[in-house]
């Protein structure tokens, strides 16, 4: 009954989406405020219906209702509760329902919090959002119904793919989807602005918090996915340039560019056409990612059961939204008047360069990801494009971004002083040199690592030069400095932290060159040296788990003879799926990690294993957390807070240029 209610709610949500997609636009055309005003309540009702649907599916999973195909294929009565819940989106149908849920959450949030927006823009934005949610609900109902029943129901399910039975599944997809789907709202804003002809600084102010929100979640989602791959695959790697990873990196790069160009549009009324284009691009790349991951054109751990029909449907959605929005863009964008002018060396100029480099690096990822697919489709020739390609293309294009980032913050709007900015960065550059010298002396090793940490340290210090320059103008007292620091706009602090976060991640990436890797057969009593630590295997044994059997190697990590950690790396065998997973034993010591994973059992009873010492590796993900924290600071800035901007109403109410 609950399941049928969920299915019915989803059908109702589709009907509401159609109404929300049509009525407000019709109202806009007729200039009827009553019709336009229907957009907000329908968006909220649509959210409520999809939420009911999602809760119904979750209930079926938690209660192990094996009359549902979806539950049979992805659940087992003995599965721990946390995985019963996360298993809801650990499959194709459920993950699409989560996608739609987040789509309508964003629609409802715009309806609830953007009351200060002009009515026509809000109506058009919500209508476009309903087009997207309608298309995806239709996709679910037509090709991927999670509520399909089976009669008679089997007694037991087939269990969730063991690789997915991990806390990562509870965190990574929701975060990533919030990011991916978050760009739907900036897309809707862009399309709405094109429909209404309201593309001005006020629009940029409305859209910026949403971009920031999506960007933060996408940053966290990618970082979490990377950490999950790192600890679950047992290879010690965290980024593989896998097409699925690239699919999430592309919207991130476009979204980062959008975040910066929207600033120029808001502050200087310039780059309007470009900002709108980026808003369309970011979501188009999100859609492309969904297509790549969900259509089955790629085989990876992320592709669930593939069905050609689904691929074609998503491709149609892709073509409709990307083609439609670009057509709208081509039709409306030429009506825009160019805005404020600026010298090439200025804050605007630096942000333009940032955008150029970000989109060019995005293009290298795009080509590297799609070229093999295109080649296979047209010539049946199968190739793979791996890390060497991306290191050679993405690396050099991204490098100038890292070098110029701190300098760009120091340039003034309209006309900047490059020499002055460079002088103010002397200290940061010196800090980079010192760090590189010290770490180079300690670790020696690859030049790339030394250069990497030098740039990273320069970046971290350089990111704060601007805010510190605003706090410490002359010799001032501590209390004045403190009150100035607090008085600075939060967005200034946010930018500093986000940029420093990039430096912190880079530091972790660069330090991978100093890592130690030992591949060997392990027996009880073995001692392995890994960097400054010793890893001792105490015992190996087989232990039962709730729905698996585990081979565990009890391992001690010692430093100068003292035990600092106990690790239990394991291999788990899941009988229901006849699959084995690797559970690495990881401990963070300082900023580095000792990582022990088992990869096989030998006939003589020894275990094949890998022991790694990875100095500074935790910084890779800490950097992402710092970036997201910077985003949060910016989001809390009064000027950008969602729903504030009331003071801007006077500006917004003026007709667009």
């Amino acid at each position: 009954m609950i399941v049928e209610a969920g299915h019915y709610a989803l059908v109702l949500a589709l009907a509401l989406a159609v109404a929300q997609a049509v009525v407000p636009l019709w109202g806009l055309r007729r200039g009827d405020p009553a019709l336009m005003a229907t957009a907000a309540p329908t968006a909220i009702a649509q959210f409520a219906l999809v939420a009911i649907s999602f809760i119904a599916l979750s209930w079926a999973h938690v209660a192990s209702d094996f009359s549902l195909t979806n539950v049979i294929e992805n659940s087992h009565s003995a599965k721990p509760l946390i995985y019963k819940i996360s298993g809801v989106w650990g499959n194709h149908e459920g993950s699409m329902l989560l996608w739609v849920l987040i789509l309508v959450v964003f629609g409802a949030m715009v309806a609830a919090f953007s009351r200060a927006m002009p009515d026509d823009l809000r109506a058009a934005t919500l209508a476009v959002q309903a087009w997207i949610s309608g298309a995806f609900i239709l996709f679910i109902l037509m090709t991927s119904n999670p509520f399909a029943r089976v009669f008679p129901a089997p007694i037991e399910g087939r269990d969730l793919n063991p690789v997915l039975q991990d806390i990562g599944l509870a965190i990574h997809p929701p975060l990533l989807y919030f990011g991916y789907v978050g760009f739907s709202i900036t897309f809707s804003f862009a399309a709405g602005a094109l429909i209404c002809g309201r593309i001005d600084a006020a629009w940029a102010r409305f859209v910026r918090p949403w971009t920031l929100l999506a960007w933060m979640f996408l940053t966290l989602g990618i970082a979490m996915g990377s950490y999950w791959a790192y600890y679950t695959l047992g290879w010690g790697g965290f980024w593989f340039w896998d097409p699925v990873e690239n699919a999430s990196l592309m919207p991130w790069l476009a979204g980062t560019a959008l975040l910066h160009s929207a600033t120029v549009m808001e502050k200087r009324d310039a780059l309007k056409v470009w900002t709108i284009f980026l808003a369309i691009l970011a979501f188009s790349l999100s859609l492309l990612g969904t297509f790549l991951v969900r259509s089955g054109v790629l085989t990876s751990v992320h592709s669930f059961a593939s069905d050609p029909q689904r691929g074609v449907f998503i491709l149609m959605i892709l073509v409709f939204f990307i083609g439609g929005s670009l057509a709208l863009f081509a039709w409306r964008a030429p009506e825009l008047k160019p805005g404020g002018i600026f010298a090439p060396v200025s804050r605007e100029g630096s942000l333009v360069l940032n955008n150029l480099l970000l989109t060019a690096s995005c293009a290298t990822v795009f080509v590297g990801t799609l070229y093999p697919l295109a080649l296979e489709a047209f010539t049946a020739e199968k190739i793979s494009v791996g890390a060497p390609f991306f290191n050679l293309t993405f690396g050099p294009v991204f490098l100038p971004i890292l070098l110029l980032m701190p300098a760009a913050q120091l340039l003034a709007w309209k006309r900047g002083d490059l020499l002055g900015a460079a002088q103010r960065l002397t200290f940061a550059a010196a800090a980079g040199f010192v760090v590189a010298l010290v770490l180079g002396a300690i670790h020696g090793g690859p030049v790339l690592s030394i250069v990497g940490v030098m740039i990273a340290a320069y970046l971290v210090v350089g990111s704060f030069v601007e805010v510190f320059g605003r706090i410490f103008t002359r010799a001032i007292s501590v209390s004045t400095a403190w009150s100035r620091a607090v008085g600075l706009p939060r967005s200034a602090w946010g930018a500093a932290f986000a940029h420093a976060g990039v430096g912190v991640s880079l530091f972790g990436l660069a330090a991978t060159g100093w890592g130690v890797e030992e591949v060997l057969s392990l027996r009880a009593g073995d001692v392995v040296k890994a960097g400054p630590y010793e890893v001792a295997v105490m015992s190996t044994q087989t232990l039962p788990g709730p729905n698996y059997r585990a081979t565990v190697a009890r391992t001690l990590v010692r430093s100068n003879g003292a035990v600092v950690a106990t690790l239990d790396p394991a291999r788990r065998f899941y009988p229901t799926r006849q699959m084995t997973t690797t559970e690495a034993g990881i401990v963070t010591l300082g900023l580095g990690q000792i990582y022990v994973s088992l990869s096989g059992e030998n006939a003589d009873g020894s275990l094949d294993g890998r022991v790694y010492w990875k100095p500074f590796v935790s910084l890779i993900w800490m950097g992402a957390l710092i970036m997201a924290f910077g985003g949060l600071l910016s989001l809390s800035d009064r000027r950008l807070r969602i729903g504030v901007a009331r003071r801007a109403r006077g500006v917004a109410a003026q007709p667009a240029e």
Binding site: T69, P154, V301, S306, I341, T364, P388, F389, T393, P396
Partner: protein, 153 residues
């Protein structure tokens, strides 16, 4: 600088950045692409020894031999043609005789391959026969439905 001059600077720098990116990609594509062949395709195309390739197929039943501590040899087959693979390293969790496998490495001679990484393909919806039969009886299990295969990274 005039408005026109500024616009030209902008366009020139845009073209410059894109040009550099395109040149890098063209350069990287020349040396960093790895072709993928099945055993029959490999025999037919006969690339020169020394070429970096990925080969894929099934691990032939009874062909896996361990020499010494970590030297492994096995045969990749598509039931028509075979390629013998030498590999030094650890095999992935899902490597099994009769199952799919992808090996990346260098061709050393006709039908002779030296792998430096081995990925096992696995069937995500693999299940024990009795469960499969039970589901078949209930009409859930569709024989014709394309079965997914995923690379384990």
């Amino acid at each position: 600088m005039t408005r026109k001059g500024r616009r030209l600077t902008l366009i020139a720098s845009a073209l410059g950045v894109l040009g550099v990116a395109a040149a890098l990609m063209a350069f990287a594509f020349r040396d960093n692409i790895v072709f993928f062949y099945g055993p029959s395709e490999l025999a037919e195309k006969a690339p020169a020894p020394g070429a970096r390739l990925r080969i894929g197929g099934l691990v032939k039943e009874g062909s896996v031999k361990r020499v010494g501590d970590r030297n492994i040899s096995f045969v990749v087959t598509d039931t028509k043609k075979d390629v013998s693979v030498a590999y030094a390293g650890q095999l992935p969790d899902l490597f099994r005789e009769g199952q799919g496998v992808v090996a990346e490495g260098v061709l050393v001679g006709p039908g002779q391959f030296r792998a430096d990484s081995v990925l096992a393909k696995h069937d995500e919806t693999y299940m024990p026969r009795d469960v499969a039969d039970a589901l078949k009886k209930q009409g859930v299990w569709n024989e014709n439905k394309p079965q997914p295969a995923g690379d384990k990274k």
